[in-house]
Structure formats: C-alpha cells, structure tokens
C-alpha cells in the first residue's frame, strides 16, 4: 500500500515566504510520510498547520516546491479527481468543522453516507454513542456546543474509506475522557483501512503513541 505515501520536496507556503522561519521538520525539507503510520504535527498558531493539511487535501495551492501523493504531484490533480480522492482516499476534519448548521446531526452524516456508501447510519450512531452523542442525532447542529459539534465532525470523517486521515486540531474543545475514546475510535478505523494518520496539535500528544512527531 506504499502507493499512497506522501513525499515533500522543498515545500514552503506562500504566506511564509517573506517571514523569518525557525527550524522546521517540514517546510523546505525533503521527506516522506508513510501510508500506515501515525504522525503528530506540532506547532504554535500561525505556523501553517491548517495550510499543510489544506495542501494535502487539495484545498490550498499557494506554495512553492512539490508534494507527491504516490507518484502524483498535487498541483497536477484536477477538480474531478480531487472529488474522487476526497470520497475514498483522503478524509479530513477541518478545524472549523464545516458542518451544516441547519441540518441535524443525522442529516450531516447522511450527506457523507449517501455519497460514499461504505457505512450505514446505524454504524454512525454506534460511534456517536461511544462519544456520548447518540441522543443528539436529530438535533440541528447549530444547537450544539462546539465540543459536541467536534465529536459529530470526528464521526463524519470516519464514515468513508481512506488511505489518509487528516485532522486539524480535532480535540481542541474535548475533555480528556472524550479525547481518549475518540483516539481509540480513530486508531481502529485507521487500522481497519491500513491508513495513515496526520493530526495537528498546538502541543499535546494526548498520551497517544504516535509513530512520529514533527515540529512545524
């Protein structure tokens, strides 16, 4: 499954070009992320964590250098191809979650389930239940707290096949108890998919044994 390794070649986001960058494990470096390993990317705010994940997800393209997924350079992938990749190759949880406010939890999850067809709503409810959110299934997302929404977004990101799971500060509003449950769920899903995991964080490792930690 090494076909989905991620390779960086001298990459630097445009917004960092004019700034003085301290030593980084990622920017301006040549290295590879292995598909079935789990990585933690640590950095303070404003160092480009979201940009990094956005690049890997085809949402950002203002950078110099090259990034390859398998043999394909990211900038060469067209829109239709990105849609296919997002459907069953790479899943991402955004820092701002990107749930639809007016839709209920169920409807938000259905949008993903209907598209990918990998899991059903029963499965989703089980995972919600593990995170203490099953009772909120028919509540509109806008009525939930950010922490509750974060748990819904975590479940949504797991409701599809993937080679990589990208999570941008996924636990910022969760208590330690829920973080551990979420990490267990995430670990199992990644194992099941033989997938790599890339989590950004302000610093904490959440007592999780990552294969590698990178400082941005």
């Amino acid at each position: 499954m090494a076909g989905y390794n991620i390779r960086f070649e001298n990459v630097l986001p445009a917004f960092l070009e004019s700034l003085q960058i301290p030593e980084s494990d990622i920017w301006k470096k040549n290295f590879e992320l292995t598909e079935n390993l789990h990585y933690l990317v640590r950095a303070h705010s404003g160092k480009g964590k979201s940009t990094l994940l956005g690049m890997l997800f085809g949402a950002r393209n203002k950078y110099s250098g090259q990034v390859f997924i398998g043999e394909k350079e990211l900038q060469q992938i067209d829109l239709m191809e990105w849609s296919a990749i997002r459907k069953d190759k790479i899943s991402m949880l955004f820092q701002e979650l990107r749930l639809f406010d007016l839709l209920t939890v169920r409807e938000n999850l259905k949008l993903k389930i209907d598209l990918t067809g990998k899991y059903d709503i029963e499965q989703a409810i089980q995972w919600l239940d593990a995170l203490g959110m099953a009772d909120f299934i028919d509540r509109p997302c806008k009525t939930l707290s950010f922490g509750q929404q974060q748990r819904v977004a975590i479940v949504r990101s797991l409701l599809q096949p993937f080679h990589w799971l990208l999570m941008d500060e996924p636990f910022s509003h969760l208590d330690e108890y829920n973080i551990q449950i979420a990490l267990e769920l995430i670990k199992n899903r990644c194992k099941e998919n033989g997938a790599g995991l890339l989590i950004t964080s302000l610093g904490s490792t959440h007592n999780y044994s990552f294969d590698k930690q990178l400082n941005l």
Binding site: A59, R60, M80, S83
Partner: protein, 396 residues
Amino acid sequence: MMFRKIFSKLIKPWQIFLVSVGSFAGLLMLWVPIQSYFDISSAMKSKKDLFGDHFLVLNKTVSVFSALGWGSGGFTAEEINALKSEKGVNDIGAFTANTFHAMASADFGDNGPVVKTEMFFEAVPNQFLDERPMGWNWSPESDEVPIIVPSDYLALYNFGFAPGQNLPQISQDLAKLSGFTIVISGSGKERVFKGRIAGFSDRINTILAPLNFITFCNETYGAKAPPDPSRIIVEASDITALAEVMKSKGYESNQEALKSGRIQSVANRILTITLAIGALIVLLSLGSFLQFADLLIARSDFEIRTLSYQGYDYKKISAIIFRQVFVFVAISAALALLAGIAIRWFLLKYMSVLVENPTAFPKLISFVIFFSVMAFYLAIAYWNIVRQTKRLSGAY
C-alpha cells in the same frame, strides 16, 4: 430535501419575494406579447391593409396643356420603370383602358324600362385586386364577363339616390345576382356578352374587367393601339418616400389614401420602437432569475466548498443548485402563464373585433416560443452556475 435545506437559508424571504415579483413580471411581459402576436397575426394576414403594404392609384396632374391635348397624360414605360426603382416601391401595375366601343343595357321585364348606357372598362393585373372574386376569369369562348365595381358606386346609389326616389336599397349580394347585357363593337364587328358583377372594390375606383378580356377586345374591336396608361397602381412599403417622389414628378393620388398611408407609416414606426423598448425591458426583467442564481451562488461559498470537501464534485453541486433555480423559475413561469391565459380569457370578447372565432387557448406556437426563450435563459443560468461552482470548488 437536505440540499434544499442547505441552500434555503441563504436568501432572505424579502429577497425571494422581490426576485419572484421580478421573474413573474418578466415572464408575464414575455408571454403576453407572444400570445397576442400569434392571436392577431392570423387576422393581420386577411386584413393586410392594416400595417401592411399600401396600394395607391396614381395619375398625372391634369394641366392646361394636357387638357388641350398637347402631350400625353399617360405614363410611359420609362416613367413606370423609373418609378419602380424608387425606394419603398414594391410593384407597379398599369391600368389598361378599353379602345373599343361598349354599351351596357339592362332589361327590367316586359313592362319595365330598358336602361342603356355607354360603358368603359379598365383592367389591372390580378395581384393588385383587394381580393380575387369567385369566377374572376374569362376566356375568348366565354360569353359571360365578370366585372368589379367600386363599393362607392353602390353606396352612392343606396345612400344618395335610392332614398330620394323611394327605391329599395340593394345589398352587395343582391347586386351580384343582377345580370345585364354588354355589347362590344368596333372595327366593323360586334359581339354581345352577358355582364355579371363579381365583386366590389374599396381600393380601385373604376369598373374592372379581367385583363385578358380587355386585351382580347382591344385587339379584336379596338380602333387604335392602346394609349399609355393614364393611371397606375403602386404597391408601396414606404408611403412617406413615395409621397416625396410623387411631389417631385407631379403625380397625384387620392389625398385621403395618401394621408392614411402616412399615418400608418408613422404608426408602424412608433409600433416598432415601442416593441423594441418592450423587448429590452422584457430581456432585462428576465435577467432577474439569472440574478437569483447569482445571488444564490454568491452566498453559497461555504456550502459549495463544504460539499466539495465531502467529496461531491462540482458538476453534482451545480446540478443541486440549478435544481433550486429551476423549481423557482418553473413556479414563476407557471404563474405567469396562468395569469396570461386568464387575461386572455377576460379579453376574449374584445378579441372578436380583431380575430374571427378566437380559440379558447393560445396558439401552440406561442408556447413553443415562450419555452424556447425560457430554455435559453435557463441554459445561461446553468452555464453560469457550473462556472461559479467550479471556481468555488477549486483550491485557493
């Protein structure tokens, strides 16, 4: 359902209301003229004089010289050709007059009087007649001659002569039943024909017989070669231009016909300008449903990106947005059609003035054109949605 929910909050109710009113008004303004045009155009064909080409009978001004017999009062072939090449002149027909002697007589029964009178005939090519009456043809073997008399002659009798003489009025149909005898003579020969009034003309103020009858009799009984025609009939599309030419060449015509022709020309021009402005307004108002699509897209940045990040491709997202626009337009169009047809029903009784036997429903062609224009606008809307969605789905 989920998709409708996603996009429904993006546009405020008052905005939907405004755009709805705009779309409805635009579509109604599109529909009513189309519907009316096809209702009336069939009537226009039969009443061609209204807003159609004009027919004018021209003659040269009678001067002292021509009254004294110096110079001909007729139109030469060169003059006719010159006039034919003028702007606004479509066709010219010469009047052919008789050069033979003709006498008409009517016998009012055994004890009644025999009325006899000298006659004259003229002929014009058939395409210049108001309408070609039944049986308007003649062959050298035929002893019956159809003629067309001016409607004014009958009016003169009915409203001028008959009341004073205590005589009954005569309808056009009754007049057509009356027969009389025509005796043609000349060059030492004579032939008797049966005359029959075949029709009446508003356009041409003379007694008309079929052209081949006049030609045949002129050749057979005529005393001399036919002179240049003293009158010609002109079919003109631009009466104002023709009036200028007539003035410069010293031709004259019935002033009333000329005046009404000019009024029609001006009316035609005003109508054209009004229609052009109307069409512009309609095109702009129809733009309001393009605006609806634009408004929806402009507010959908988050929604389009989020769907795209979930794995929905831009074609699918465009289709979702287009469906919202389509439903909105379809409802506006249905309401506009209903309102338009309702207006038509309400006006049906007035329509009978212009249209014989108006149908209860608008003509099929009206629907075809209406939906074609709508399809055109929807195609633009769709293209625009795909373009914008693609832009918003892309990386930044």
